[in-house]
Symmetry: C2
């Protein structure tokens, strides 16, 4: 059982989200370029009820990201564009009635909100006690499964700084973002004990496995 970041896109210059996230640009401007390897995969298409899609290395890596995941953790900005206290309970995530998680999903927020049960087994549970509490709750909910930290960048950086992530699968995309949220800036990955364990060339991304040394 591990705590993992999976299928997380990074640009050549270290950005994992574009600038100016809003309702029209959930990934920020230019952000979709980070996901091109995923959007073309059979996995992504199947998640969205579509046939076809590419079945190479990129697809294999995308499929891996959903195997054995017992619970997710998301930062609030990844859950939606609403900031500050929840004005009401209308916002239910970016993903429609049946989100692709099919597990409990712990959403980090400073503002309490009741449990939100969606179709297909996804439950959004809002955690106001911080990243360690969320991880504890996610581990309990995951049983023998893994906990996947879905993002965004600020959430992953916090968990890295606390050395709570065991493994990351990064999809390096050969694009420059030049703005947005930088995954690496000011983060002492070496000092925190992380190293690259494997490099897997894909069709549209280079997949890198990063692990925390025992």
């Amino acid at each position: 059982m591990k705590v993992a970041v999976l299928s997380f896109g990074v640009s050549l210059d270290g950005f994992s989200a574009g600038p100016m996230q809003d309702l029209q640009n959930p990934l920020g401007r230019g952000g979709p370029e980070l996901f091109e390897w995923f959007f073309n995969s059979r996995m992504w298409r199947r998640m969205h009820g579509l046939d076809g899609g590419e079945t190479g290395i990129d697809n294999q890596m995308a499929e891996r990201g959903f195997v054995g995941v017992g619970a997710w953790i998301l930062g609030r900005n990844m859950f939606g564009p609403v900031r500050g206290p929840w004005p009401d309970e209308n916002w239910k995530g970016w993903w429609g009635d049946e989100p692709p998680y099919h597990t409990p999903v712990f959403v980090l927020t400073h503002h309490p909100r009741p449990l939100l049960t969606m179709k297909g087994g996804t439950e959004f549970r809002f955690v106001t006690e911080g990243i360690e509490a969320a991880l504890e709750q996610a581990k309990a909910a995951a049983g023998s499964g893994d906990v996947r930290i879905g993002g965004g960048v600020a959430t992953i950086r916090q968990y890295l700084q606390a050395r709570l992530i065991d493994e990351m699968h990064l999809a390096l995309r050969p694009v420059f973002m030049s703005a947005g949220e930088n995954l690496w800036h000011g983060l002492d990955m070496r000092g925190l004990g992380y190293e690259c364990a494997e490099v897997i060339p894909g069709e549209r991304a280079t997949h890198v496995i990063v692990r925390r040394r025992g």
Copy 2:
């Protein structure tokens, strides 16, 4: 005829040199990890009069870096650890009597120094009039050959910001440096018109070709 950066190592977190460069650590601490793909190649061994070495993709990419190069440009810190005015003419580069350049090499410096002729066709010419003057002189010296900008990081960043580089071959190494000189930080590569043209998976590095859009 082009202006190119070739065989330039970059860590996963964007560093191209380690911290604390000095006489014992010409590449900075941890810097040699960026060059592992090169140090193991047949090309590098041949440059140093040694037999053997690996002959795969990494070696092919290393060999490309010396084909058709008519002149080099180096930043002063890449030429040596001496800072400020030259105390004398004893420092003749890191590379011994016969440096691996075999062409004119234009060294950017604020402090004039006479031409230095080495064995094997390398001439170090010291340029105090800035990066554009150095490039003009290098182009004239290169004839129909390319101009290779050897580094270091500060020099390459200046030439990128001036949009004077046509092509870069970067060797992405799956390591974290976490400190040293970051190639990307604060550089708007997208705005400057650069994009990734090709990704070539090697044995110890992922090779990325970056080009300026016409």
